[in-house]
Symmetry: C2
Amino acid sequence: MSDSEEKLAPLFTPPYYAVIFASKQTDVAEGYAEVAVRMVELAAQQPGFLGVDSARENIGITVSYWRDIDAIKAWKAQAEHKQAQRKGKLNWYQHFTMRIAKVEREYDFTR
Amino acid sequence: MSDSEEKLAPLFTPPYYAVIFASKQTDVAEGYAEVAVRMVELAAQQPGFLGVDSARENIGITVSYWRDIDAIKAWKAQAEHKQAQRKGKLNWYQHFTMRIAKVEREYDFTR
């Protein structure tokens, strides 16, 4: 685990925004993994995208970081992303919650 | 996966706060799991605790939800939690980030 290449998103400079997306999937996994990878690639190309942390165990949690609310709105409305959102509701998600939150403080620790 | 009993934290009523904790662990796992479970139990007894979502894959992400900043400060200073924080830095965490963010908007979807 600790030698995985996956890195944490670095700290940025508050204030900025976090989109906290938590999900329970259905039993339908077909097509999900490639769309998930593609959405991270596509988000990273959006103006105002800062970074993302993601993990899936019994539930999935993806936290993406954005410069401001307008950047989040533009990403929500992006055409290919809207198509993925529709597929998610049709096929892949049993339940999800999404929260938009303004980051006020941040800390980190490195051994 | 979808038949797991683990549920997502429900929505609350903004504004409230999220503590977004992302971590990379060391190779030392001894003692971690029981302390992690105990900390969730203990947090749930704190005034102002609303809920928590957690997943661990290559990285761990735990998002806990709190009524206000004072509730987060009190939890940070709680004696048994402070001891766990020390053990985490000594033994279990290679790197972590923690962000305190004010939840402004929220949505959910249920199939």
